[in-house]
Symmetry: C2
Subunit: 330 residues, 2 copies
Amino acid sequence: MILDASMTTLVEQMLAGQQRPLARLISMVEREESSIPALMQYLSPHLGKAYSIGVTGPPGGGKSTLVDKLTVLLRQRGLSVGIIAADPSSPFSGGALLGDRIRMQQHYLDAGVFIRSMATQGSHGGLARSVKDVMRVMDAAGKDVILVETVGVGQTELDIVQTTDTTLVLLVPEGGDAIQTLKAGLMEIADIFVVNKADREGADRLMQELRMMLELTHAENGWEVPVVATQAHQGTGIEELYRTIEAHRRFLEASGQLQQRRALHRRNELWELVERRVRQRLSAQAQKNETLAALVEQVMQGTVDPHSAASRMLDDAESLCRWLRAERSS
Amino acid sequence: MILDASMTTLVEQMLAGQQRPLARLISMVEREESSIPALMQYLSPHLGKAYSIGVTGPPGGGKSTLVDKLTVLLRQRGLSVGIIAADPSSPFSGGALLGDRIRMQQHYLDAGVFIRSMATQGSHGGLARSVKDVMRVMDAAGKDVILVETVGVGQTELDIVQTTDTTLVLLVPEGGDAIQTLKAGLMEIADIFVVNKADREGADRLMQELRMMLELTHAENGWEVPVVATQAHQGTGIEELYRTIEAHRRFLEASGQLQQRRALHRRNELWELVERRVRQRLSAQAQKNETLAALVEQVMQGTVDPHSAASRMLDDAESLCRWLRAERSS
């Protein structure tokens, strides 16, 4: 796995801080080009410096505004910022629908901010995987902080923000009671709760409910999840939020949990990549190999159930190896 | 793959219409017991009769109520009903939190209704896969209609309802504008839109917006997605909704698309099972095999990136075959 000359040039330009090569490399990662493993290997020595922050919560709560205000604050402190807006469900590329063009303009002349919108890529965690690789590229490009923002709060979004170092869950008073939050699986992934639009009616109740529920669900890792009130539009509470993020970072570093988290994420990613490639190889092989094609056809007809077919495919180790190998050499 | 005697007895009791064996078999499917492939093979000849209806949409829109009212209507028509309430995010088993106990009571004495709540099982589409198998078991048990209800609207929920024959997307006026719906990926999967709480302010506007957007996104398959107004609590609109579902069913059957849909779902399921099992085998192997363990450790340390490690694992076909084979024989 060696990068070709033109890719090497591109990567070196990116490592030197150029924006356009960064954008081009991210596009390659999104398209899952075959050079990605070589690229990632090349980037390896340049990884691990960026600190990543995930922002999730129901749509319409003000996540984009919060990310923008955090970005302004980070820039004031001289830190460079990468922003990934991940939208698992948008049929439109680039998520331009949600006003990203406006956001782009705001930071357009600031080379210290790089914004990327990413939309759905098929099913099966394609987006979640790509986001991880794009985070890696931004890390190598020298961004100090990477902000990852999701549009909704489904499983893909949880998968995405769970791979960040600190996860913010943003709620708003009118978003309903805390029980809904719990049902949406947000309780488990939050490192910090943000109650935005904190001037609205019901904000105090929501904060109280969250704190009560947090008391009930003891922190296993020693971190007491704080609840921070913000009014992102006015910039209120952003300073306190940032201090809280920094406190969480120091906690993770001091306890060794930052290393642990990242190690587990990488291992998980490895298995995801392996299963994905096996699937690609075997389904490509099913286009050519008669035995395999016949089995797939029987599954489609309903004469063989998927479980039995999977067993047949995997329990005949001889054939399986031949299929995986044949695909490789083709 | 042969079912043992006790399992065979259990399955025969289920096929004869007994509820408790049905519940026990569903629990086995949820636990992903090793006998599942044999079970599914045994059930094969009994599948394909049930018609499945998925119900999704943002939390708090009245999905459970709608499912209950549909159930009452289906029972009046003499049809037996299986209900699956799928919650990809709940840390609580059985989703009892959301009033399922109350629902259970309502239908408790009715042997024609079988309700099952299913909660998260790890990540990686575990729930979506289990739901498919549970649908299969309910189908074999002779349920005429299977209603699958999701709690939220994330990717897992989309994966779940997409495998049903007819997908209802339920919205409410205060749930915000139609653009949000589009952003949540619901536009693509809806066979029928349901605007619930249709007496509330904004319902007409929401229905108009939906119809406008549906006109813009031409139906590729020849089905014009209808928008039906309901007030589930009062039972208003449920009859019309059911007629619309029946119309969709006739459309799918007449156009041959029902067969096609189901065939594609089965093929997809096959590849999901294959990739999952390969992952299980290799990660089990990584506990024992030194070479593999060392590679995984390097990934965790960050000295080898996940992409390169996946390539090493898969491109050395000799080792891969040995690992897959070794795991099988253990």
